[in-house]
């Protein structure tokens, strides 16, 4: 099957820090890839190189056949690539000056040039799917974190992207709100859309991921099915990480 997303030899430095050291990653259509790894392993940076929010220094990014050289590209090409993707942010990043409905409509109207009336109807439908029909006319600051993040997911979904990038979508949420957002993401995953998810939610990864990637120190240490990575990790670094995360106390006592 054709690859939906290809990352080829991605290098990235911030100043003197060489943080992504030649990452290669191929993601098939319909894959739900979960990237795990300790804090500071630059999972988020890797994710952001896919839609050029962080531009890699070397390598190439391909989304649904559209390939971009990280060293040499024009603004127009970056925009074209971004229009094949959508992103859900850790801090939701809903447009503060727009209502929830306007947030979801914004991309349809300004980017896809869909007539307002149609865009509004589509947006209301999708907001109903994430359970926010009652909140269409509220501003982001009037909603809970969980509601904001579900709106963020709706804003990404409505663009019908080739791949959705989730950047730690539940990390900023109060614990009791994590469930509603994870459930929404699970529903999205079942529609067969290609997803890359950076998260610390192991049980979510086990349930939803078709593939898990374990990253540390700016490179991929190990990858495979959840049953392989989470149950029988081969690499000692993966084993240590999983032990720390599943039994924090035992790890602390070592």
């Amino acid at each position: 099957m054709a690859n939906m997303v290809e990352l080829n030899n991605i290098h990235k430095s911030f100043g003197k820090n060489h943080i992504l050291k030649g990452v290669n990653l191929n993601i098939e259509k319909g894959d739900v890839v979960v990237i795990l790894g300790p804090s500071g392993s630059d999972k988020t940076t890797l994710l952001r190189t896919v839609n050029f929010l962080d531009s890699a220094d070397d390598g190439s990014v391909t989304v649904n056949g559209f390939s971009l050289d990280c060293k040499k590209h024009s603004k127009t090409q970056v925009i074209e690539l971004r229009r094949k993707t959508a992103m859900v942010f850790q801090n939701y990043n809903l447009f503060q000056n727009k209502t929830i409905l306007e947030n979801v409509m914004e991309g349809l109207v300004t980017v896809k040039k869909i007539a307002k009336a149609d865009a509004e109807k589509m947006s209301r439908d999708i907001l109903a799917k994430v359970g926010l029909s009652e909140r269409c006319d509220f501003y982001p600051s009037q909603l809970s974190g969980g509601q904001q993040q579900r709106a963020g997911i709706a804003r990404a979904l409505i663009l019908d992207p080739d791949v959705i990038l989730f950047d730690e979508p539940t990390s900023a949420l109060d614990p009791e709100l994590v469930g509603e957002v994870l459930n929404t993401i699970k529903t999205v995953a079942q529609t067969g859309i290609t997803m890359i998810v950076v998260t610390h939610e192991i049980s979510f990864a086990r349930e939803v991921a078709s593939r898990i990637i374990f990253m540390e120190g700016g490179s991929i240490v190990e990858e495979g099915k959840p049953s392989e990575i989470l149950v029988n990790p081969k690499e000692p670094r993966t084993q240590r990480f999983l032990k720390r995360i599943t039994d924090p106390q035992a790890a602390g006592e070592e």
Partner: protein, 234 residues
Amino acid sequence: MENTFKPETIPGYIPNVLRAFPVTMEILLISLLISLALGALVTAAGIGKRKWPKAIANGYIAFMRGIPTLVLIFLIYLGLPQLAQSVGVDLTGVSKTVFIVACLSLSSSANMAEMMRASYLAVDKGQREAAYSVGMKEFTAFRRIIFPQAFGIAIPALGNNVIMLFKDTSLAFAIGVIDLMGKARAISSASYGANRLEVYIATGIIFWAACIILEYCSKFTEKIYTKGRKKATS
């Protein structure tokens, strides 16, 4: 010296001084528009990536904020025509109001630029990233997402700048423009200064009342513009 102060005559001077109100408003409005445009230009240069425009913008702001408006008025009113003459341009026919508008625009534009820069930087960078993530172009993101939010942040400072600019229009009298302050001086001179305290108190009341109205407008605009966007609680 005999005390000739007659407070009961103060209200009577107000309509008289107010006859110069259109001149003051004209100076204020034109200077405001020019200073906003100039401020936007300076801000764009200042926050851009190019080195030279950035250096020029920063130098401009540092100079304009450091120089007293009255000094600037004298420098330009007295100095510019001479400078122009030396390159063969005759500025003697240019009205004094034009000079005042130019000076106030220049001096206010630095404050406007600082206000715009601060407001622009106060918009969370996640807002731009979100706009890019849905595929917007830079300009669309600015127009639809960044600018409306920066504007909301800028309203209180903008109101403050307009009030400062309004008060600075009173410096126009220094080169003989008959604005509110110029009118007050003219009335006072006509009676050889006998009633000057009363006239200046009347003028002060006019400025004060106008500033109160401007402040109210600023608060009202802020309230309307940011309606619903702030948290319902707190």
